[in-house]
Amino acid sequence: MCWELFKVFFRIGAFTIGGGLAMLPVIEREVVERKKWLTKEVFTDILAVTQTMPGVIAVNMAVAVGYKVRGTKGSLVSVLGAVCAPFFSILALAIFFQNFRDNPVVERIFMGMRPVVVALIAVPVITTMRSIGLTYATGLIALAATILIWLLGVSPVWVILVAGLGGYIWYRIETNRKRRRGL
């Protein structure tokens, strides 16, 4: 079973290109539909938890699914499987890239790719805002975070800590208000 887990997560790590979020539907297909290790319901619950936890989402998913299937050993094996392919492919690239870096043809190719990459990251700014719902409050919070990090050079760590604390305080205020109304 552990070998099976390793194989599945290795495949997920090796064949999902373009980051962690792209891996989620692939993980679901493998784990729920093909292997039937987890029910759709359990998978959805786990997914909700992994997305509120810090860290690489694909790794979080590997820990969670591995644990559900085969306990602690299962989660370690799954993480190892998921990390293997990205690790070795980038390592190989890092070793070879040193020799290619100053190649003028490679430099021209990268000159074309750099603005494209910035555009590809600009897209999720909008899609993220749309998925949480753009209101004055969320818009202002997002804008404040942008300015703090980009213009004022504040570490994102502080911004995240303050945002989490703010969210918690807001939750306490809301529950107190509901309690006072006798709900």
Partner: protein
């Protein structure tokens, strides 16, 4: 000692990144480019570009790459950085998964995350603006490539890999 610095830095990134992939970029930039100077913003962009076309999460790719280059070309650096990045995830998820039902319904936890969610958009926006440097945008052609690929990705959902290949090809022809 470089290995400890790599471990400490990527442990911090693993501990404080919420919202996955793109949201981590500003944290990685802050630590790797601004704070430690292990990469220029230009080579950081190159790694993100390569990450779009190679398997695996961007954070793992960056950790492996930076671990190798910052340690002067040592595989041990890659291992340290990648391990440090995933240790917080593995430890915390291992604890949380034992009581995931409680966690998925825990209101206080949802409160914390509801504060972080709008910030995630800001984190990504800051990463974009940080990458809008003269090295990444050399002339008007860069702006043209940026606009065209933004429109293609947002409105026509053109696949990122295809856009990267087209961008690379355009760069080869134009420069």
């Amino acid at each position: 000692m470089i290995y400890l610095e790599l471990f400490y830095t990527f442990f911090k990134i693993g501990l404080f990144c919420f919202g996955g992939g793109y949201a981590m970029l500003s944290l990685i930039q802050d630590e790797v480019v601004h704070h430690n100077g292990w990469l220029t913003m230009e080579s950081f962009s190159d790694i993100v570009a390569v990450s779009q076309m190679t398997p695996g999460p961007i954070a793992i790719n960056t950790a492996t790459y930076v671990g190798y280059t910052a340690s002067g070309g040592n595989v041990l650096g890659s291992i340290m950085a990648t391990l440090a990045l995933i240790i917080p995830s593995v430890v915390m998820m291992s604890i949380v998964i034992r009581a995931y039902k409680k966690f998925s319904q825990n209101k206080a936890f949802q409160g914390i995350f509801s504060g972080i969610r709008p910030v995630v958009a800001g984190l990504i926006a800051a990463a974009v603006l940080n990458m809008a440097t003269p090295e990444n945008f050399v002339d008007y052609r860069s702006y043209l490539l940026f606009s065209a690929s933004f429109l293609a990705a947002y409105f026509y959902r053109v696949h990122p890999i295809l856009l990267m290949v087209l961008g690379g090809f355009a760069g080869y022809l134009m420069y």
